[in-house]
Amino acid sequence: MSDVRKRELLQVSLRLGLLQSTWCDGVMQSVGLAHCMVPALKRLYPTDSEFKLAVQRYKEPFNTHPFVASIVAGAAIRLEAERHPEAVIGTFIRSTMGPLAALGDPFFRGALVPLTAVVASFAAIVGGPIAGILTLLLVFNTVHFAVRFGGVLIGFHEGTEVLSRAARWLSPTRTSVLKKLAAAGAGVILTWEVATFGDVSHLWTIVAVGLSGLLAAIFLRFWQSSWAFIVLVLLVAGLALEVLL
């Protein structure tokens, strides 16, 4: 286990940034994952034949949330370092990617991204552009980089037990709290943007836009599959109204 140094773990973490660059149908993130694992595998398997066999373990289809892939990579390095059989490593990777994606997707895409958008938008309106930029980058990337870089280290130290730690980090309870905060922030930003970009002197403006916003949210829930086109139509309709009025 001590064969792998921090240097190799750091190299794996850095290469994880390229995980999505080779995403394709069929094997999905496998090329990216195999490319990430190369520094650690080269260290663990110095001979060419051993290294080739080790790399081939990563040709099976692999797909998870890109940020939490670091946890799988770290734990897989630990299993490689402990010289577990090929079947054990393969089964671990295949059985972890699904639950991690199920934890990572709602946490990052479903909760952290909306919360960050609301907080940064509010910071931009109240504190100016620099405050908006800094808030967005700091809030999102503190969590993102902690998981991406910390994930490899924690995965390596905890091995197969890492899933329970990841479940605590990205727990559904925590995700739900972030979503509630994002929803609460959405109400604040809705009122604030009317006051900032519109005419706040009429009470009806705020009430009408606020209610329309909430009704639009209910409406969009039914047509999620084609929402992008609905938004495009709304934007053009907004411009047409502007010209007519």
């Binding site: 940034g17 390229l18 660059s21 149908d25 094997v27 090329v31 195999a34 190369v38 290294f51 080739k52 790399v55 081939q56 940020f67 479903g110 909760a111 991204v113 958008a117 940064a120 931009a124 100016g128 552009p129 908006g132 930029i133 990337n141 993102h144 509630k180 994002a182 929803a183 922030g185 959405a186 109400g187 604040v188 930003i189 809705l190 009122t191 943007e193 009317v194 006051a195 970009f197 519109g198 705020i206 836009v209 916003g213 909430l214 639009a216 949210a217 969009l220 999620q224 929402w227 992008a228 938004v231 495009l232 709304l234 934007l235 053009v236 907004g238 411009l239 109204l241 502007e242 010209v243």
Partner: protein
């Protein structure tokens, strides 16, 4: 004229490098619509519009399901904000014609996602024919694959940003010449577009009770602050 061409080249090239981040590094950790549009607002000395476009696009970008490439959309909107005054158009206002810029940026984002899916399909077929894992030197083969795809995404970024910004500028010129849409602030679009963004964002939270949360804080904010 020379200065304009230099500006366009700088903005398009910077945008192309920035959209590379959607596949590499953080996957939209840095290049998010709000950051690009706020920076563009500072560069173009049009902070209010930058803020308005950035907030609107950032809120649209929160909806789950990846139907549009928001890095591209953000970069195209930001580039339009900088380039428009350089080629003789009035500075983009809050609302009004800026609604069109947002619509075109989202349209290009949807197109970019479509192209990405086509590449994913052809790449998958190529990998099935020649597996890099079974080559004599798999590490070199895998690295070559990754490097080739980075270069391809960079080239695609140049094409997508150039086309997106070009179409946006042509449409803005056309709208100005044909309809004479003023560059002044448009109240309807200014309020409606971010409000739709907030609606989209609430929708991404997936449960109706979150809409109730938003409604409650909306009323409280109005009572307490306004």
């Amino acid at each position: 004229m020379v200065e304009t061409v230099i500006w366009i080249a700088i903005v398009v090239l910077t945008g192309s490098v920035l959209v590379l981040e959607r596949h590499c590094l953080g996957q939209m950790a840095i290049v998010q619509p709000l950051t690009t549009c706020l920076v563009a607002g500072l560069v173009a000395d049009n902070v209010e519009t930058g803020c308005w476009i950035g907030i609107s696009l950032q809120l649209f970008a929160t909806l789950s399901g990846q139907r549009a490439d928001w890095a591209i959309a953000g970069v195209i909107a930001a580039a339009s904000l900088v380039i428009a005054p350089k080629i003789g158009l009035p500075p983009l206002p809050v609302g009004g014609v800026s609604c069109l810029v947002i619509a075109l940026a989202i349209g290009t984002g949807i197109g970019a996602r479509f192209i990405e899916r086509r590449f994913a399909k052809s790449d998958g077929e190529r990998l099935r024919r020649a597996s890099p894992w079974t080559q004599d030197n798999p590490a070199t083969e895998l690295a070559a694959l990754v490097h080739r795809s980075i270069i391809r995404w960079l080239a695609m970024g140049v094409v997508e940003v150039t086309v997106g910004v070009g179409v946006a500028m042509v449409v803005l010129f056309g709208v100005e010449r044909l309809f004479g849409v003023p560059a002044s602030r448009g109240t309807v679009g200014a309020i409606v577009v971010p409000a739709v963004g907030v609606a989209v964002m609430i929708t991404s939270l997936a449960r109706y009770r979150y809409i109730a949360w938003a409604g409650l804080t909306m009323v409280l904010t109005w009572i307490v602050f306004l």
